[in-house]
């Protein structure tokens, strides 16, 4: 059980989920989604709601009778038994370690590709991880409150970018969808699902949320907000660059920002907005680190709640796992991809597949087993 002082509110969790998800959204969605769904990427986002809602409903059902401060880990143990439960938690944790390392390396690549050209991405990997260890060593509530501050800032930035870039949008490049090729709309669904799956991992932190009420309401508000952001992102990038150009640019959204001009008196705002995107990586990597350490503590039979009252540099009660996880994430980030081309290949071919297997295959399976065994 976690101490109440360390718990966050449901709204803070929504903020973490929103801010953290902006990182993979900007990295993957406009380009990869247009690659598979063409100019109707906005429609694919809507279609993606179907599988996402199904998984959401399952997850919500999973937590329906959960005790206060119970997350996936506790429910996995109840559903599958101690041994199988721990094996599954470990499996998820290993994948989450790999995914966090990949997210860290991708964030570093974004800085190199969009603003700090000819710089070694390792510098960004190290500095970003140092930044993310700080909240991981402290209380989870700090991350919640930080995300609460970033959330309005990033929403305002997005509104500002969308509003000013709409003048460049030509709707001729977003033709109405037809029934001629229905498969093209569905082809992009795994891409959207892959990005959204990050939010599913946040279920490992469910036990850190103080209030049990409004779980469903906040989950749907979050889903609605993210869907709206993705749809607008697709409309703005496809309308600005057309289908072909969007699919060949590395970070089309940042090029939209680079081209922003405020009535011809303020230009080249990309460095400022790119700096704001540090918050998204910070929220994503920190939250994932929290979740990974939380899982490892369960696996190694440590008591999560007492650790938070300890000093930041204390290694007792499994706190060494924070350093171990951070070190593994850093090692992964440094060696996962020697260059941007391999990173892009990983991002296109390997990561989405495994991610979707975990969140849309393994997780629903465990939930169904738990429900059938009447353990949850």
């Amino acid at each position: 059980m976690n101490s109440k002082a360390n718990n966050i509110t449901r709204y803070q969790m929504l903020c973490i989920g929103f801010v953290a998800l902006l990182s993979p959204i900007i990295r993957l969605l406009p380009q990869q989604l247009v690659n598979s769904a063409g100019p109707h990427a906005w429609l694919t986002t809507l279609i993606s709601l179907v599988p996402l809602l199904l998984v959401f409903m399952l997850v919500l059902r999973f937590f329906k009778y959960a005790l206060p401060n119970e997350g996936y880990c506790e429910l996995f143990l109840r559903s599958l038994g101690k041994t199988m439960g721990k094996v599954l938690i470990m499996l998820f944790t290993l994948w989450m370690l790999f995914y966090t390392a990949f997210a860290l390396r991708s964030a570093a690549d974004r800085y190199v590709s969009t603003a700090y050209f000819n710089t070694d991405p390792k510098i960004f990997c190290i500095s970003m991880l140092v930044l993310c260890i700080v909240p991981a060593l402290g209380r989870f509530r700090v991350l919640g409150r930080t995300a609460e501050c970033f959330f309005p800032l990033l929403v305002i930035t997005l509104i500002f970018v969308f509003a000013f870039s709409f003048t460049d949008v030509d709707f001729k490049f977003i033709p109405p969808p037809t029934a001629a090729k229905p498969l093209t709309f569905i082809k992009g669904v795994p891409t959207v699902a892959n990005v959204m799956s990050v939010a599913v991992y946040m279920g490992f932190l469910e036990g850190r949320i103080g209030e049990k009420a409004s779980r469903k309401k906040m989950a749907f508000i979050w889903l609605g907000l993210i869907t709206l952001v993705i749809m607008l992102l697709c409309v703005v990038t496809v309308g600005t660059f057309g289908e072909t150009m969007t699919s060949r640019l590395s970070y089309p959204f940042f090029i939209v920002i680079r081209n922003l001009s405020l009535f011809n008196f303020l230009e080249r705002l990309e460095a400022i907005i790119l700096a704001l995107w540090v918050f998204t990586d910070y929220a994503l990597i920190s939250a994932m680190l929290f979740a990974i350490v939380n899982n490892l503590r369960v696996c190694f039979n440590y008591i999560p709640e007492s650790a938070e009252s300890e000093k930041a540099l204390c290694l007792k009660n499994g706190r060494w796992l924070i350093w171990l996880s951070a070190a593994l994430v850093l090692l992964g980030a440094l060696f996962i991809a020697p260059d941007a081309l391999i990173l892009s290949k990983l991002s296109r071919e390997l990561i989405p597949g495994i991610n979707n297997v975990f969140t849309f295959g393994l997780l629903p399976l465990v939930i169904i087993v738990g429900l059938l065994r009447k353990k949850v």
Binding site: F117, D168, D170, F171, K172, F173, P175, P176, P177, T178, A179, A180, K181, T240, F241, G242, E243, T244, M245, R248, L249, I255, R258, N259, S261, E267, R268
Partner: protein, 404 residues
């Protein structure tokens, strides 16, 4: 004791944070950051020109915008194997710490460069960390970018200012719309064709603005881009026709001579172009009907026409409609002859007939070429400026009469 230790530790931490933030102050930058530059050490490039050089080289010319007595305009030109190498070469000759390309506004492409190197240039712009994709490209019709940049203007008035002034005027007059590199690249990627504003560098007589013998940059219609390369030009009136078909006419002036009457000049208010297509059962385009509707106001007439006369009104409307059709037909003819959809008609029709075009197995341009195309215009001159009747008409001077 332990509490005191923690308190001191926190204060030291806070002080370290405060001192580390001082590193961001500009005074520290020169010594700490390798990439920091003071503003006065930068040479801001405003216009860049591309021409073919000797052998397989490219010639890049730059202009730094209007100068002052103290800092005159810098115009330099160098050749190298690629744009970026030429830029680096230019840097050696600039005399400034850094040639700063991030705020470049215009790119002039010589006629020959637009025919040979446009895809390479657009590719460079798309990749470039220095240049923005929203800079406006211009083709120097029948000339070189180097000449247009180096010989236009004088110490006070140079090519960037000339293009800015011309750009605003030509957009307002409906002569040409300044498409950015992004729009050109997007159109080429989607439709295989695009339009780029064309300018001509012409010798001027002595004027207030430009010294005698220097060049002035004047609008010269559109350059037609097919498969990424310059394939021809639309003259000024054909450009107006293309703008009508593209639905982007603002306050454009049209001169025409109604049958039996003298010349009339009108200023357009609103225009709208509607496309109606007829497809056969296998979704092949058979007919394309283009209907232009336009409203305009009379601004000038050669022989004091009476607008209240219905016959005069009819004759004027008819003549203006014919003129609009003529210009638009010419632009359309270029598109069909070159088999190049530089006006993005495919996109326009795809928005209106998505299922028909999506299901059609034929390519768009050959289909359009074989289709029956009719362009009609319905122009209406529905007001004049300030005066209802011409001077001398009805025994009163204009301006006395009030409109009811």
């Amino acid at each position: 004791m332990y509490t005191l230790y923690i308190s001191v530790q926190k204060r030291i931490g806070a002080l370290l944070l405060v001192f580390s933030s001082l590193l961001a102050l500009c005074g520290c930058n020169g010594s700490i950051y390798a990439n920091y530059r003071e503003l006065d050490t930068l040479q801001l490039v405003q216009t860049i020109g591309i021409d073919p050089g000797d052998e397989k080289k490219l010639r890049v010319t730059i202009s730094t915008g209007a100068g002052t007595e103290a800092i005159p305009t810098a115009k330099i030109s160098r050749e190298s194997e690629s744009i970026i190498l030429a830029m680096e070469y230019l840097q050696d000759y600039s005399g400034k710490e850094e040639l700063y390309f991030s705020h470049t506004r215009y790119a002039l492409l010589g006629d020959e460069a637009a025919r040979r190197y446009l895809p390479e240039f657009l590719d460079y712009i798309e990749r470039s960390p220095r240049l923005r994709m929203d800079i406006t490209p211009y083709v120097v019709r029948g000339g070189t970018a180097e000449k247009a940049i180096s010989e236009s203007g004088d110490k006070r008035y140079e090519v960037t200012e000339a293009i800015t002034a011309m750009e605003r005027a030509s957009k307002r007059n409906g002569v040409c719309y300044p498409y950015s590199c992004r729009e050109v690249a997007r159109s080429i990627a989607e439709y295989g064709g695009a339009l780029i504003c064309a300018v001509a560098a012409k010798k001027t007589e002595d004027s207030v603005f430009v010294e005698s013998g220097k060049l002035a940059v004047v609008p010269s219609g559109y350059g037609i881009i097919k498969d990424g390369k310059l394939a021809g030009y639309l003259d000024i009136n054909e450009s107006r026709g293309a703008n009508l078909l593209l639905n982007q006419i603002e306050n454009s002036s049209f001169y025409f001579e109604p049958a039996g009457l003298s010349g009339v000049t009108v200023l357009t208010d609103v225009s709208n172009t509607e496309y109606t297509a007829v497809f056969d059962e296998s979704n092949v385009l058979r007919q394309l009907k283009v209907e232009i509707s336009l409203k305009a106001g009379l601004v000038e007439n050669d022989s004091l026409l009476d607008l209240s006369d219905p016959e005069v009104e009819k004759a004027m409307n008819r003549a203006l409609s014919e003129k609009l059709c003529e210009y638009s037909e010419k632009a359309m003819r270029h598109s069909l002859e070159l088999e190049c959809d530089f006006m993005g008609l495919y996109g326009t029709l795809l928005c209106k007939y998505p299922s028909k075009l999506a299901e059609s197995k034929e390519s768009f341009m050959p289909m359009l070429k074989n289709a029956e195309i009719s362009i009609s215009a319905d122009a209406k001159i529905d007001h004049s400026f300030n005066m209802v009747r011409p001077i001398g008409e009805g025994g009163k001077e204009g301006g006395d009469e009030q409109q009811g």
